[in-house]
Symmetry: C3
Subunit: 253 residues, 3 copies
């Protein structure tokens, strides 16, 4: 930090098991990755190459190398996994992870129908090859999953070998954990937290109001994801009670 | 593409006559142009320097040179044409196009009243000097143009020499083709497509939901415009059925 | 300007006392600062490092040096001042301003309760050390300040030594001067302008519609603030009547 300030909540340090920030790269150039890392490296724990952007992104290997040299793990968005599954090409997907030297992968079922057992089987298999993040929730606005089912799915996927489960929000933050207005489904989140340890969940929270909400509920070291590269500094100030929205939250009462 | 995937719609390749992506540069620095081209060059067919940003943009000639060396045509936004016309300086405008070596120009009447015959006369004259794009639609929310009139204007402007006609949406995507909510005026678009060949129209579609809508209606190789430089990769995945919103659209049924 | 155009309103030139553009840097990397300055240097009068981003921003001294070499003053957002005040560390704050060679500072009370006299006392003390901008208005949506009180506060703070007063809008432009919809509180602004000289006020106007509104009300040389770095070129065209929204405003009638 650039100067001392008291009454700042303690932040975990890298490598973090909680207090993670997962950033979404949806097509940065190599120089833009360097720019992002200059400001965000210490505050970024893992990077997702959004959905299947890795299919069309030029200089993919060079990009992966930059993140690797910064010690930040990268994974392909879950939609890419689903694109291979819907085409019945799981083995191809595994080979491609190897080919690009990926050490993390996301398993999701946001865009297709997949039985819970089938999903857990993919988690079991893939977790022998890489560290697996598994995403719960649908990208479909009309598909409301009740809390008990979120919990059941999360438990099963963690037991099957997922390192973390991700609470789905879509890039725009208007499905899954959130109402179409972007508002958090508070009861859902609180109920999940009674059953699943907070450090095992990454909450997708692309919008500032959502980040504020999770920091207030869970604390400075909540795991959040789908953060835009240029919002990492802002998120860090929200975590530390140094933006208006959380200004009073961590002060001695 | 970085790895093989089946059931991907065929994309046209450069130089494209359909499947065009028109990107709006509203004041990028030279290095930002380079960054954009690193990721977007293969997916970008033409660049518009938004409205009259070219008037105040520093290093304009250097910027034009970068785009030129990448083989991507550039034109000044239609508002600049209108700014000269409202001042009765059409000849000055033509000289400025020459002075900057412009090979494309846009003719529009979004911010002033112009008779259809007068507009076609400008198209006829300017198309002797450059390749002309002509824009139909108003920037004025209150001015609703009925479908038959959109079609009549588009036909006349193509006959007068326009290379493509552009369906106006304003940068924010909330006028012209769109309701103030950003929703597409579906009946209007479908009626236009019964009369004007799809490859002759560039649909302004700055918002993701609009891009998705046009790809679903017209196909992977729809012409769309007013795309932000950092959204070109995203658009390409939407075209290919590799983002959640179009995930199932191109799969074998 | 890159070519001549008539009927363009006269713009003040640097160093400006009116017609100021205050830009918010909320965590740019060094290269991103250079990119912003390449396009925005001539149109940017002062830069705010948003809220307390300076606490977590890497390479802060190098960033300050780049702005300094461009001759653009920088100040830390008012929330940082408040973060020190709420911790009863005003003297520490003054030392930190010295330590970083700051020549400007913002005094605000958007996130805490502060008596008007106390605020003016801070302005008096700090204005012996640096040039002070003082911000009026609350970040709290529920806290509506009536016009006569805005005026009283602004007058008192200018008399206490503030160089300019800032009309609060928050980064999102939805509190203070604005309704939660982002719409300007027109009566409030007009009443303020009957009592406070326009050149003494910087209006926070992060959204385009707000910038348009102020340019139409006050003129091309209105002072506006909280402008995003990549929107400075756009703002300049709005000031000059070269974007659709102000296209007709400065034309000879």
């Amino acid at each position: 930090m650039n100067y001392p300030l008291t009454q700042i909540p303690e932040r975990t340090e890298k490598p973090r098991q909680k207090g993670l920030t997962m950033v979404m790269d949806k097509g940065l150039s190599l120089r833009q990755v360097e720019d992002f890392l200059e400001t965000g490296e210490n505050y970024t724990d893992i990077v997702k190459l959004g959905w299947a952007t890795s299919f069309v992104t030029p200089k993919l290997k060079e990009k992966l190398a930059i993140y690797k040299s910064a010690g930040i793990p990268v994974y392909f968005g879950g939609t890419l996994f689903e694109a291979f599954i819907v085409r019945k090409k799981f083995d191809d997907y595994r080979r491609i992870l190897d080919q690009f030297g990926m050490e993390y992968a996301e398993i999701s079922d946001g865009s297709l129908e997949m039985d819970g057992d089938e999903k857990c089987e993919y988690i079991r298999q893939l977790s022998k090859q890489v560290t697996v993040l598994s995403e719960v929730g649908s990208k479909d606005e009309a598909k409301i999953i009740p809390p008990y089912k979120w919990i059941k799915l999360m438990k099963a996927e963690l037991e099957a070998g997922a390192w973390k489960v991700i609470g789905e929000a879509r890039e725009g933050g208007n499905v899954g954990l959130f109402r179409s207005s972007g508002e958090v489904r508070q009861g859902l989140v609180e109920e999940i937290l009674t059953e699943i340890p907070e450090e095992k969940i990454i909450w997708e929270a692309p919008q500032k109001s959502q980040q504020v909400w999770f920091v207030k509920l869970v604390g400075a070291n909540v795991n959040v994801g789908n953060i835009a590269p240029h919002e990492v500094i802002s998120l860090e100030t929200i975590r530390l009670g140094l933006r208006g929205d959380t200004f009073s939250h961590f002060l001695d009462k």
